[in-house]
Every structure is written in structure tokens, then in C-alpha cells.
């Protein structure tokens, strides 16, 4: 297995173009996985694998934009670079709004493509980092008891221990214990750290 697992997924229904694009990207040092149809690509797709997709816009069955939707639905974040035979403005606007890295016109020079792939790689790495962090946070959050979780929400919302005890119908001392166990489990010291983490995890105040 390669040290750099970043892979370029090339999808084009034209075998000649598919082969040539794959070839030039390999020559530029990328790991490439070619697919002759969008369906074949989707069937094989692992959203967790690092990499970006280079898609032809006009393909029979499922066109590039539809494929992009499938790739970025939910948790997925696969960066997409489009290449097209004709520079059709409405299509390119839709693609960019949906988060495409770039919309390139055929014939595409390797410099341009490699530059776009580099941007895609950065974006992929960022997303992957963010995702890893989030996973870690979520793993820690998962270790909390329901009561500790409840207390966390109130702390992030800025309430004092006394107020929290009142809200939950218990005494201040009990809240203190829950609070210190929660901070310990999450590995945090200050309330500011807790608020930052809660933001990342999407926990509302």
C-alpha cells in the first residue's frame, strides 16, 4: 500500500478520454482509479478513502451533476472536479454552487488539471482532519452519562451550578460532581475549551 493513499477517481464514458486522463495523472504521480460509467463508480465508492473525483459532465444514464449530488449527500464530502466538452454557463454555475472544486473545459491541460487536483487534495485533507477531530469529540461525548450530558448542555448555555441544580431538581453539590467528571472524561479544563468543543460537535446552547 502506497504511503500516500490520496486517489483520483476519473469517471468518463469515453474510453479513449478515460484512458488518456488516467495515464497523464499517473505520470504526474497520482494514484488513479478509472471508471467507465457513473454507476460503476458509485457501486465501488468508499467515501472514507481519501481522494477526489474528476467527472465528465455529459454521461449517459447519470450525468455529472447528479453524480455530484450522490457524492456530497449527508456526511460525504468528496471533492469534485468537472470536465466538459462545452462551456455551458448554467451547468457550471450549478456545479460550483454545489461545491465543485472547478469546472474545466475539454481538452484540458495537465497543468490545469493537476492544479485543480491539488486544491481538491487540500480541501479533502482539511475535511478529513475536521472529520477526525469531530470523531474524537464524538467518541468522548459518547463516554458521558446521560446526566453528565445534560449538565454539559446547561454549562455550555452559560448557566451557573446553582441554577443548573434548580433546573434539574437537585443540589449544587451533585452538579459539581457531574461537572468535574464530565470535564475529566472530555479532557478539558476550562469552560472556554468546553464551549469551543461543543461548537465543533454542533451542540447548541
Amino acid at each position: 500500500m502506497n504511503v500516500d493513499p490520496f486517489t483520483v477517481f476519473v469517471v468518463d464514458d469515453d474510453p479513449g478520454v478515460l484512458k488518456a486522463l488516467s495515464r497523464v495523472l499517473r505520470a504526474r504521480g497520482y494514484a488513479v482509479r478509472p471508471y467507465a460509467s457513473p454507476q460503476a463508480f458509485l457501486a465501488d465508492h468508499d467515501p472514507a478513502a481519501p481522494g477526489c473525483a474528476v467527472l465528465d459532465v455529459a454521461m449517459p444514464g447519470l450525468d455529472g451533476l447528479a453524480l455530484q449530488q450522490a457524492l456530497t449527500a449527508g456526511e460525504a464530502h468528496r471533492p469534485v472536479i468537472f470536465i466538459t466538452g462545452k462551456g455551458d454557463v448554467p451547468t457550471s454555475v450549478r456545479a460550483m454552487k454545489a461545491g465543485a472544486i472547478d469546472f474545466l473545459t475539454k481538452p484540458v491541460s495537465d497543468e490545469v488539471l493537476v492544479e485543480a487536483i491539488a486544491r481538491a487534495r487540500n480541501k479533502d485533507a482539511e475535511a478529513r482532519e475536521r472529520h477526525a477531530e469531530l470523531s474524537a469529540i464524538q467518541a468522548k461525548l459518547a463516554a458521558l452519562t446521560p446526566r453528565e450530558r445534560e449538565v454539559l448542555g446547561h454549562v455550555v448555555a452559560g448557566r451557573l451550578n446553582k441554577q443548573i441544580a434548580g433546573d434539574l431538581g437537585t443540589v449544587e453539590k451533585t452538579i459539581k460532581v457531574h461537572r468535574s467528571r464530565m470535564m475529566e472524561k472530555l479532557g478539558l479544563r476550562t469552560v472556554a475549551d468546553l464551549v469551543r468543543m461543543a461548537e465543533k460537535a454542533g451542540i447548541s446552547r
Partner: protein, 739 residues
Amino acid sequence: MCFAAAPVILSTIDAASAEARRVLLLHAFGHPYSPWSDFAASFRAELVKKSPDPIDLYEVSLDTARVQDPQGEAPFVEYIRALLGGRSPDLIVPVGAPAAFFLQRHRAQLYPTTPMLILGADLRRIPGARLTKYDTGVLLDLDLPAYLDNVLRLLPDTTNVAVVVGHSPVERYWASEVQREFERFGDRVTISWFNDLTFGEMLRRAATMPPRSAIFWFLLSEDAAGVPYSQDRALETMREVANVPVFGMGDYELGRGIVGGPLMQTQALGHAGAEVALRIFKGETPGDINPPAVLFGAPTYDARELQRWGIAESRLPPGSIVQFREPTMWEQHPGLAVAAAFAFALQTAVLAVLLVQRRRRRRAETLLKESEERMTFAASSVNLSLWQFDRDTGELWTTDNCRTLFGLRDDAALTREALLATIHPEDRESAVASLRQALDANQFAIDDFRVVLPDGRIRWVRARARAHVGNLGGSNRVAGTFIDITEQKDAAAEAGLRRQEVAHLMRVYTLGELSGAIAHEINQPLTAILSNAQAALHLLDQGSPDSAELRDVLKDIVHEDRRAGEVIQRLRGLLKKGEKKAETLDVNSLVHSTIALLRNELIIRKIAVKVDLAEALPAPAGDSIQLQQVLLNLMMNAMDAMADTPVAQRFIAVSTRTTSSGGVEVRVRDRGAGIGPAQADQLFQPFFTTKGHGLGLGLTICSSIVQAHGGTLSLKNDESGGAVAVFTLPGHEILLAAQ
């Protein structure tokens, strides 16, 4: 100064068997001047006829008699010597006195010992003392007063005689001779002289001569203005305008307008000259031969002139000869005439009986003639020629306008061959064949062919022919019409050209609509080529490139380049303007290449295509570009029809199959809304369209293309919804209809 020469070998007898006699014939005037040319002609003919040896004749013409410049004669001497090429002639024959004088002046350089025969000079011009022993002459002794005597005998009341004589030196000599000898008539007639006039003035005078006048045409080779006249034509011109009789001088003038009388004998003189020449060839010394001078023969007259001027033949001298008479039956064959008269009497009786019948027939004939004239008039007024041909006799009858139609001259004979010769070589065979078919099969035949007019223009003629059944039932006559159909043909060709142009515009228009899709088709291989080439560059940069992989890359580049080329080829074909070609068509591959052209458009419009092609299809003949245009149009129609069809149902089925009659059928089926009842009748009308952006010409053009290929195109609703377009093409044994 000018001169001309004509060395002529007048005999083809083998030179080895007999030595040719070289004769130098020397003219003082140009060839056409009478009477000298007449002397020479007669001499020449007689000599060649009578001579046992071949005659090698050198005929040289000096214009010195008219120009008369002895100082400038040296080049002529040189010329004659050069002409004979160092050989001396066996006989020298100067024709007329001026030629004789020339030779006498230069005898020292021009063969002094060669025999010389002077032909046709007058005795008074050649005194015997000036002749050497090598010389002799067949000469004239013109009895000048006899001419005037003759005029006065025939027309005793004559008081004026105009003498036509020219202004050249020889003519001036003769003018004074004639004047001198005519002096004695001074008390009877007034003589006027034309030698100081131009020919135009002479004609004016001749046309306005006073009553009781006559014209004596003596000699005219050059008028006072120095204009040369070849005499016979001049004489005829004067005879046409003259208001009084014209008398002449020699036999060569008889029949050209002179009344006649005692005449100079040019024929006899030539013959006598030939006799003397032969005697010289036999070895006689010229000086010892003293041929008699040639005198007038029996007075000879032109009957037509006598009649014209009312001169009774009783006035002619005894022994006269009258020529150009239209002899009566009595005069020529008195016995036969009596018999004929008897027969005529008998016939009269018969005729009397026949007269009644004849009158009837004549009336019928008149009616027939009138009817024929009416028919001819009617025919020619619609530019129609009627004709009839009899195969047995080869006789062709046509109306007169047939000549104009076929570009024949008015005096050209109207024969089958003459007409056939005007027909364009490529069409001739079929024209003959259709005529024969009409005869053989006893049926109606029609054929269009091209006639090549004399100026090279083409005229289209349509011939209709029908065997004419005779009384006995056999058909050996064929009759019909010719009509000029050039205009129709031109119009048809024009329409064909228009249609081609519209079809071309439609293709351009269609491709314009497809331009995005087509750009994509070309972009694909270009993309592959660029990426492959850049991959190869990187491989090379890697230090030790894998040559097998590089070869692979280059192979792919070549392949992709070809692919781009094919797309362009397809486009070029469709964009090309050109005449319809007839080639063998592979309909299935046309379907494939059309779908290839539409591939991207189909993807963009989310339309699936199902292709169902029969194997081993017949190969119709036709124009692949035009038929691809039909397919392209039908497919685009199908695509446009499905704009409102849900994506999942968008579907075009293209299929081919062999028809029961051995042709090819192509179906293009869609799942659009189908054809509305109101549209059905208008589909093939030009400019009818159901599309927001259409021209409304597609189906019109498709239909005309398919029809031109001998097939049919129809459009109907399919049972499963949508429309289906079906066109058929006949197998290739069916001829392509021309335009």
C-alpha cells in the same frame, strides 16, 4: 511589283520510262485575264492530252503588261532561272505579245537556243523579221472592221457605237489600232471611246446609251483609274446594266452577254499551238514551222441575246451558228413529233372522259392540300414538327420547320441520316432504338434527346413515334412528332439545382443546431490526444522511460487522431454542396454513423436509442450524404417530439429490414405525442412546422430525396404511442430517377 508561279507536274507517268518535256508557259498578265488565260488553258489541255511524253509545266505570271517597267525586269529573269533550277526548258511559250516582248528582251539570259512558241499575239505585233530560227508563233490576225460590219449588218439603224477598251499599255495599243481601222465607218456611225473612263463611269454610260446605239466590248483588264478587272465578270456586270446590245471580240465571251458575230478563236488557237509544240518536240526546227494565223471561225451568236434585242435570225450572215437556243420538238425530232401529235389526238379523247374524274380528284386534292397546310400551320405555330418515315424506301417526310428545329441549313436535305447526325452522340443510340421499338412492337414510343446546333448549343427534342399500320396490316412506316422541350428541361434542371441547394442549406441548418454536440464529438479525441501527449512528455522526463508504454501512448494518439478525422469527414460530407452521386449504400452503417453524430445530443437530451438492424440487407444505389440527411432529420424530429416526454420514457428505436420486394426499409420510432389529426395532411407541406424553432422544410426535403431515390417516405402514429417514420429504398436494379 508582284509575281506568282505555279510549277505543276501535269502527268503522273513514270519518269523512268519517258523523259518529261519541260515547258515554260509565260504570262504577261495575271492568270484570270482573258483572252490570254483562255489561250493558255486550251493549249495546256490539248498538249497534255496529245503528248506521248509527260509534260512538266512551269507556269509563270508576270504582271509587266499592266505595270510595264523594263528597267525592273531583272528579278523576273532571276526568278525564272531559279525556278527551273539550272535546267533549261524544252519549250518556252509566251502567251500574248507583252510576254513575247519580255522574252525577246532577255533571250540572252533565258535559254537563247530553246525553242520559243509565241501563242496568241497578233500578227501586227510580231513582225516576222524579229523572229529567230528558234522562234515560231501561232498568231492571230484580227480583222477589226469585221466586228463593226457585223454590228451594222444586224442593226443597220445603228448610229452610235461605244468601244470598251482598257487603259493598260497593251490596251492603249489596241485602242489606237481599232480607232485607225474604224475610221472608215466615220460617215455612218459616231464612235465613242471608253478608254479614258473608270469602270463605274463606263457602266453609267452603258446604262444611258441613246437609242440606235451598240456597245463593242473589246478588251478591259485595267480601267483609267488603274483598277484591274478580270474581264468576264466585268462584262457580265456591264451586260446587266446596258440598255443597248453588247457585242464582243472572242469566243470566250459568248454566253456571258454578247450578241455574237465573228469571234476570235481562243480554243482553236490553243489547239493549233499544241500541234506546233508537238512538232517541235519531234525535232522540227521552229523557224521552219510557219503555222497559219488563226482567223475568225463561222460567226456565232447567242440566241437569248438575239431574242432580247429583237434581232431576227434572218439578218445573220449565211453559215452562222446560233448557240444557247431552246430547241423546239419540231426542230429536233420531226418524226417523233408527228407520232406524238397522233398519240396526243388519241389521248385527247381519253382525257375528255377523264376530265370529269380529274376535276373531282382535283377538288379532293385541293381539300387535302388545304388540310395539310392547315395542319402544318397548326403544328408550326405550337413549335411542333411532324414527320413520317418509310422503312422500305428510307424516305423521310417532315414539315419544313424540322430544319430549324434540328439546326439544319435551309437547303440541307432532310434525310434520316441528316437528322441523326445532329443528335448528340450519347443520345443517338437510344433515339434509334426507340424508333425501332415503335416499328417492331407496333406501339407508341417516346424519347428525349439532345440536338447539337451548329453553334454548339444544345436543344432538347422530344420525339414521339407510332407505327403506321398500312392497308396490308404490316407496319413499315412510322410517324410522329418532334417538339422542342429545351425550356422544360432547363426548368427541370433549375428545379433540381434549387432542391439541391435547399437540401444543402437544410443540412447546414441541421448541423448548426447540432454544433454543440458536434464540438463535443471532436473535443473527445482532442482531449485524449492532449492528455496522452502530456503523459508521454512526463514519461520522458522520468529519465528511463518505459518504451513499451511510450509506444502504447503514441498508438493511442494515432487512434484518437483518426477518430477526430472521421468526425470531420462526416461533417464535411454533410456540409458539402454537390450533385447527387450514385453509389452502393450500406444502410446499416449510415444508421450507425448518424447516431454517432447525434450521440452527444442524445445524451444531453437524455434520450435512449435502441438499434435493431437486419443483417445482409440489400445494397440500394443512392447518395449516402443525402440519405444520411434523411436519417438525421427523422432522428432529430423524433428527438424534438419527446421534449415533453418524461425522461424515463424517452426512447428512439431505429430498425432496418429487407422488404418483400427486395428493397430496404428503415423505421424511426419515437415516444413523443404522435401526430395530431389536424397535422397529418400538412406534414409534407413546405414550411409547415410544429416546432418553435423549425424551418418546416425537413420532411419536404426528406420526401423529395427519398422519392428521387425511387422510394417512399411515410409518417404515422405508432400503436404504442408516439410516431413512426418509415422510408423504403428499392434494391439497386431499379434505375435512379434523374433529378
